[in-house]
C-alpha cells in the first residue's frame, strides 16, 4: 500500500504503524479487551460503549460523505428507524434481540434504498434536501403515529439481551459494541480497498469520468447509501437495547449534525478519522461537564473551524473539503478566484 516514502509526520507515523501492523493490532486488541478493567468505574465503561455506537454511526456516514462525496444530512433518522424497529420487535412482538438486530439493519437499509432510488438520479443537492426532510418526517411520524409507536411516550422496558442464558451486564454491552464496531470498521475497510470502494472514490473525484470508465454511477451511489443506512440501523438496534428506552428526541436532526461534525473533525474519506472524531467528540463533553451547556455551540464552532482551517480533519488525508489541485494557481494570477465547478445560475 505505502509505496512512496512518507514525508509528513502523519505519513511517517502511518508508515511506522504499517511496518509493525501485527504488533500494533495485537496490542490494540489487548488494550480494548482490557479497557473495562482498566477504567474500573462503570460510568466510564458506559462512555466507552457510547463511543462504540458513534464509531459505527460515523464510520458508516463516512461511506456516504467521505468515500462517495454525497450530502446526507439525516443519518440519525436511519439510526432511529433501526432503534424503533428493534424496540418494537422485542417489546411488542416478543422477538429475541439477536433476531431483531439484523432485521433493524435491514429495515433501515430498505428505507435508505428507497430514498436513494428516488433522489440519487437528481442533482446532488436533492439528496441533502431529502435526507434533511426525511429526518424531520421520521421524527414527526414517530410522534404522531401513536397507535404504532406510542408517540411522545416512547417505548420503555426494552429487554436486556442475553447470550446463551447469560444476561448482559455493563461489560457485556461494551464487548458487544466492541465486536459490532470492529466488524463495521473491518467491513468498511475491506469494501474501501475493493473494486466497489474504488468505484465510490472514482464517483467522488469525478462523476463524469467515472461514468465514462464504465462505472454504474447511480447503482454504486445507491449501494453506498444503503450500506451506510444498514450500519446505522444496527447501531440503532444496539442503542435501543443499551438504553432500554427509545423516544423520538434521541434521533432529531441535531443528532445527524453531531455525526457530521465527527466525520469532518476526524477526516473525511479515511478509515481511522471517523474513529478519532467519535472518540474525541464523545469523550470531551464528558470530561468537561461544566461545558455541557455549550455543547452545541462548541460543535458548531468545531465544524466551521475544521472546514475552514483544516479541511483534511485530524487524520490529515486528502478529504473532500480540500481544494482540488486545479484550483491551486500560481500566486500572480489573483483573479478570477472563480470556482470552475460552480458555473453560476440565473436569477
Amino acid at each position: 500500500m505505502q509505496t512512496l516514502p512518507a514525508t509528513t509526520p502523519a505519513g511517517r507515523m502511518k508508515d511506522f504503524f504499517f511496518r509493525y501492523r501485527i504488533v500494533t493490532a495485537i496490542l490494540l486488541t489487548i488494550f480494548l479487551v482490557a479497557l473495562p478493567f482498566l477504567l474500573g468505574n462503570g460510568y466510564y465503561v458506559r462512555i466507552a460503549t457510547i463511543v462504540g455506537i458513534y464509531v459505527i454511526l460515523v464510520s458508516s456516514l463516512n461511506i456516504i460523505i467521505g468515500f462517495t462525496g454525497m450530502f446526507s444530512l439525516g443519518h440519525a433518522a436511519f439510526y432511529g428507524i433501526g432503534a424503533y424497529t428493534s424496540a418494537m420487535l422485542t417489546v411488542m412482538a416478543g422477538w429475541p434481540f439477536w433476531a431483531a438486530l439484523p432485521v433493524a439493519g435491514i429495515v433501515a437499509g430498505i428505507f435508505g434504498a428507497l430514498i436513494g432510488l428516488a433522489t440519487l438520479r437528481l442533482q446532488a443537492i436533492f439528496l441533502a434536501f431529502t435526507t434533511l426532510g426525511f429526518g424531520e418526517i421520521t421524527r414527526i411520524v414517530i410522534l404522531n403515529w401513536r397507535s404504532f409507536t406510542r408517540g411522545p411516550l416512547g417505548i420503555a422496558g426494552i429487554p436486556i439481551p442475553t447470550f446463551f442464558g447469560w444476561t448482559f451486564d455493563r461489560n457485556g454491552y461494551y464487548y458487544l459494541v466492541l465486536v459490532l464496531a470492529a466488524l463495521t470498521v473491518a467491513i468498511i475497510y475491506r469494501v474501501y480497498h475493493s473494486r466497489i470502494g474504488r468505484a465510490f472514490v472514482a464517483i467522488r473525484e469525478d462523476e463524469t469520468a467515472a461514468r465514462s470508465m464504465g462505472v454504474n454511477v447511480f447503482g454504486y451511489k445507491v449501494l453506498a447509501f444503503t450500506m451506510a443506512c444498514v450500519f446505522a440501523g444496527i447501531a440503532g438496534s444496539f442503542f435501543a437495547h443499551f438504553q432500554r428506552f427509545v423516544s423520538a428526541d434521541s434521533f432529531a436532526n441535531l443528532e445527524s449534525f453531531a455525526i457530521i461534525t465527527m466525520v469532518a473533525l476526524g477526516g473525511t474519506g479515511s478509515i481511522v478519522g471517523p474513529i478519532l472524531g467519535a472518540l474525541i467528540l464523545v469523550v470531551i463533553p464528558e470530561v468537561f461537564r461544566f461545558l455541557a451547556r455549550y455543547r452545541g455551540v462548541i460543535y458548531g464552532l468545531i465544524l466551521i473551524l475544521v472546514i475552514v482551517l483544516k479541511p483534511g480533519g485530524l487524520a490529515g488525508v486528502k478529504g473532500i473539503f480540500e481544494k482540488p489541485k486545479a484550483a491551486k494557481r500560481p500566486r500572480k494570477q489573483r483573479r478570477p478566484k472563480a470556482d470552475s465547478s460552480a458555473p453560476g445560475g440565473r436569477i
Binding site: A128, G344, R346, I347
Partner: protein
C-alpha cells in the same frame, strides 16, 4: 371554512415566499444552498423582539431591526465562512452553513434560553370581513410588507447597477470578474440581501405566530426550502409562486390529514413532484 384556509394560506405563503427568495438568490448566484437561512430568520425575530421589548413597541421598527440583523448576519456568514471556501468542493460550504446554523441556534439558546418568548400583539383588530372571516390588520400588513419587499427586490435586480452586477455574476462568475465587476463585493451584498429577507420574514412570523425561540427557524427554513425547490431554486418568480402554493397546500392539507402532520405535507408533495419534474416549476434545464 374555505375562505378561512385561503386567508391563512396567503398570509403564511407570504412568509414562505420571503424565505424562499432568500434561498433562491443565494443559490442563483453561488449555486450554494444556505442552510443557515432558517437561523438568520430566527436572529431577525430575536432582534425584532428585543427592539419591541427594550426600546419601543413599534412593529415597523422591529421589522427594520430584523432586516438589519439579518443583513449583518448574512454579511458575517459570507465573509468568514464562504470567501475562504469558494474554490473548494461545494459540500464544504454546504456543511459549513449547517455548522453556522447550529452555532447560531445554540448560541441563542445559551443567551436567551430555549423557552418561547412572546411578542405583544400588534394590530389585532379586524381590518375587514371577507364572507364570514375576519382579516386582522396584522395579516394585511404582513402581506403588504411581503409584497413591497418582493417588488422592491425585483426593481433592485432589474433596474439598478448593483442588480445588473448580481445578474452578471449569477450568469457567469469568471467572465463577470474579467469585466471588472467586483465579484467579492457583489456576492457579499447578495448574501447580506438574502439575510435581510430572512430577517424580515422572521420578525413578521414572530408577530403572526406570537412565538420566538431559538429553534423556530429549523422547520420554517426546511419548508421554505421546499417552496424554493418547488419553484426551481434559481428563479425569483418561481420562489414566490412556490411560497404561496406551499402556504395554501399546507392549510388545505390540514383539513384532510391530521394537524400533527402539517409540517410534512408540503414536503411529501414536493418529493413526489420532483420525481416527475426535477427542475421545478420555473427552473432552468440543467444537469
Amino acid at each position: 371554512m374555505f375562505l378561512q384556509q385561503l386567508v391563512n394560506g396567503i398570509t403564511q405563503g407570504s412568509l414562505f415566499a420571503l424565505l424562499a427568495i432568500s434561498f433562491a438568490i443565494v443559490y442563483g448566484t453561488l449555486r450554494l444552498v444556505n442552510f443557515a437561512t432558517g437561523s438568520i430568520y430566527m436572529i431577525g425575530a430575536f432582534f425584532g423582539w428585543m427592539v419591541v421589548k427594550f426600546v419601543i413597541p413599534n412593529l415597523f421598527l422591529a421589522i427594520f431591526a430584523g432586516a438589519l440583523a439579518g443583513f449583518v448576519t448574512g454579511f458575517i456568514l459570507e465573509r468568514f465562512a464562504f470567501r475562504a471556501l469558494r474554490g473548494v468542493a461545494r459540500i464544504a460550504s454546504l456543511i459549513c452553513t449547517i455548522g453556522f446554523s447550529w452555532f447560531l441556534n445554540e448560541a441563542m439558546t445559551v443567551l436567551f434560553g430555549a423557552e418561547r418568548k412572546s411578542m405583544p400583539s400588534f394590530y389585532s383588530d379586524t381590518a375587514f370581513v371577507l364572507g364570514d372571516v375576519g382579516v386582522s390588520w396584522l395579516q394585511v400588513i404582513l402581506v403588504v410588507v411581503a409584497v413591497v419587499v418582493l417588488v422592491s427586490l425585483q426593481i433592485l435586480i432589474y433596474r439598478t447597477r448593483i442588480g445588473l452586477a448580481i445578474r452578471a455574476v449569477s450568469l457567469d462568475f469568471k467572465t463577470a470578474g474579467l469585466m471588472g465587476i467586483p465579484i467579492d463585493r457583489v456576492i457579499s451584498f447578495t448574501f447580506s440581501l438574502a439575510g435581510a429577507m430572512a430577517g424580515i420574514a422572521g420578525v413578521l412570523a414572530s408577530a403572526y405566530y406570537n412565538a420566538i425561540f431559538p429553534y423556530m427557524g429549523n422547520i420554517a427554513g426546511l419548508k421554505s426550502f421546499s417552496a424554493a425547490v418547488f419553484g426551481g431554486l434559481t428563479s425569483i418568480p418561481g420562489a414566490i409562486i412556490g411560497g404561496y402554493l406551499l402556504g395554501l397546500i399546507e392549510n388545505f392539507g390540514v383539513q384532510v390529514i391530521s394537524a400533527g402532520y402539517r409540517d410534512i405535507i408540503g414536503f411529501v408533495i414536493l418529493v413526489i413532484f420532483l420525481l416527475v419534474r426535477p427542475r421545478g416549476l420555473l427552473g432552468r434545464k440543467s444537469g
